[in-house]
Amino acid sequence: MIRSVAVTLLFLPAVALAQRAYIDLGSPDFRPLALAVPAFQASPEAQAEATDTLQVLRDDLALPAVFELLDPRSFLADPREGFAASAIRFQRWSDVGAEGLVKAALRRDGTTLAGELHLYDVRAGREVLYRAYKEKTARALAHRFADDIVQYYTREPGVFRTRVAVVRRGKGTREIVAFDADGRYSEVLYRDSNILLLPSWRPDGGEILFTSYRGGKPEIWGLRLSDGNVRLVAGLGELSSGGVYSPDGRQIAFTASVDGNSDVYVVNADGSGLRRLTSDPATDTSPTWSPDGRRIAFISNRSGNPHIYLMNADGSQQKRLTFQGTYNQTPRWSPRGDLIAFTARDEKKVFDVFVVSPDTGKITRVTQDQGLTNEEPWWAPNGRLLVFVSDRTGRPELVISNPAGDRQRVVTTDASPLANPAWGPLPQ
């Protein structure tokens, strides 16, 4: 018996050393946060603005898809009950399923609109956020409120005060138009009769680079937003296109074709210090910077088909990233650094949006069976949303989506074709 015990004891460590298997479990079943946003209180002269602010705020909060906005018709509490937590009957709000309660008050202050935001935790029965602003318009006030609410719950900046620059084609003209993130308001920033394309923002939002034929061939120009002035940034070889600022705003990467060979170049923001990063005889194009500015992703067909490649910002260590598909284009590196969005043509000859991990090369599909063309993705500055062009409604419109593709919203209804969206930076 002692021998048996001894033999057993000898082999016990083998049991202890057995590897434990682990599984990952995510995506719990929980509802988006239910928010009650009742009608805002307002002074008599600000009633119309209060209604506008409320509508814009509700539209904003529906965009990131982390909130469920409760139907105001179900509210039981008196929305005029006041702002002090002691005066609010939180049970009435809890009864309709609200977890958060948003109240606001507006009044006219000269030429500006003054607004106060109150956010309450219904279950805890207390106010958790208070903000006061003065803005020129109801929309601006609503976007501020929406950013604050998103920031409070997600601890990340909201993007409702950002804009998306896009090329719009009219009769004999091309325009760079800036849409609000919700697509409801647009401003023409630049108009030309020449072909223009591929806008991109400077990180501080003060300038937009674009490719234009206004000089007789494709060149990179810069539009200064403060006064509308344009300057020639780079015009190399037969064509230069697709200029993008580095995250620190000091350099510009772009594509240039010299003696018939298309390559990626970098130049300082003031136009000095031109250097060539790629020299392969194949077509190398479409650079995009990593958020730390140390690497650049680009497209090359050196393997026979266009695929995404990575390299250091000085052009060294070039290596292929994508090995699936036969026509991958328009890479855009997420500000979070974890994904690169791109357009690709699949085996059915449909163009769709995909994302790829720069670390593992794993490709995930964002759009599928949603029109013939979904293309040219660009990241929101918080890296949580994508904007791209889609023809699913019958004409090219802007669509905003989360990277997983399961929360998409068509945000524009413009009569003219839209192309090349570029999401601008957060307000400085």
Binding site: Q324, T326, Q408
Partner: protein, 244 residues
């Protein structure tokens, strides 16, 4: 008093016992001194599925989703009419140039040989392949739903499914906290699939979240583990990383 034979026998066993104790001490020391790898909570969850029985989708093709995305929401409201453009810097507008398209990479020729019949057959095969909507793996399951075999083995996939159905969080956990919560629980599974015990390897720091996990686990009945894993799951246990 021991007989002489028994004494000699016992003397031979002592080295074995000492060796066993030494090995145990080494294992315990290893477990105490070695730091467990930090759990990467930014890692996306692996949702395991049964692999569908069928022909494997060509590796070089772009992936397809098993289910298409939900329909996109429409625009919120009619857009505000575009106002008159701001005064732009006057520029001389040269005559419109010939519309040259941006450079596109040269497409690769894909000839399959000079024989016309082989070209036709190749085209037919290609069209048939592309007409397929479902791909799988020759070693998959008739009940499988996954396209490839990279998403977990069969038993762990069933465990994941069973736990996922009970993984519910209370609405009282704020959205703010949800973004960062995670915990690791060790389950001890009996041969009949019953979870006889559980312990937290790592708590989340949020009592409501941890209590919800405990409820989810105790409500779950797992399938019986494969015979070769019964002992392991009963003694060593199965770890579950719960996160968002």
């Amino acid at each position: 008093m021991y007989a002489l034979g028994e004494s000699a026998h016992r003397d031979r066993l002592w080295p074995v016992l000492l060796a066993s104790l030494a090995m145990h001490a080494a294992v315990v020391s290893l477990g105490v001194l070695r730091r467990p790898a930090p759990v990467d909570m930014s890692q996306k969850p692996i949702i395991a599925k049964l692999v569908r029985l069928g022909e494997a989708r060509p590796e070089r093709w772009l992936p397809r989703r098993d289910a298409p995305p939900p329909e996109a929401a429409p625009p919120a409201a009619a857009p505000v009419p575009v106002p008159a453009p701001a005064a732009a810097t006057p520029v001389a507008l040269p005559a419109e140039k010939a519309k040259a398209a941006p450079p596109r990479p040269a497409s690769t020729a894909s000839g399959k040989g000079d024989d016309a019949l082989s070209r036709v057959l190749s085209k037919v095969r290609k069209e048939q392949a592309m007409a397929k909507e479902t791909w799988g793996d020759p070693s998959g399951s008739a009940e499988g739903t996954a396209t490839d075999a990279s998403e977990g083995n069969r038993y762990l996939a069933l465990v994941t499914q069973a736990l996922q159905s009970n993984y519910r969080l209370p609405a009282t956990i704020s959205e703010q906290e949800r973004m960062h919560l995670g915990a690791t629980v060790i389950l001890f599974v009996e041969p009949d699939g019953r979870i006889s015990n559980l312990r937290f390897e790592r708590r989340s720091g949020n009592d409501a979240f941890d209590q919800a996990l405990e409820r989810a686990v105790r409500q779950t009945r797992l399938p019986p583990p494969p015979p070769e894993l019964v002992r392991q799951y009963r003694t060593v246990g199965l770890g579950v990383h719960f996160h968002m």
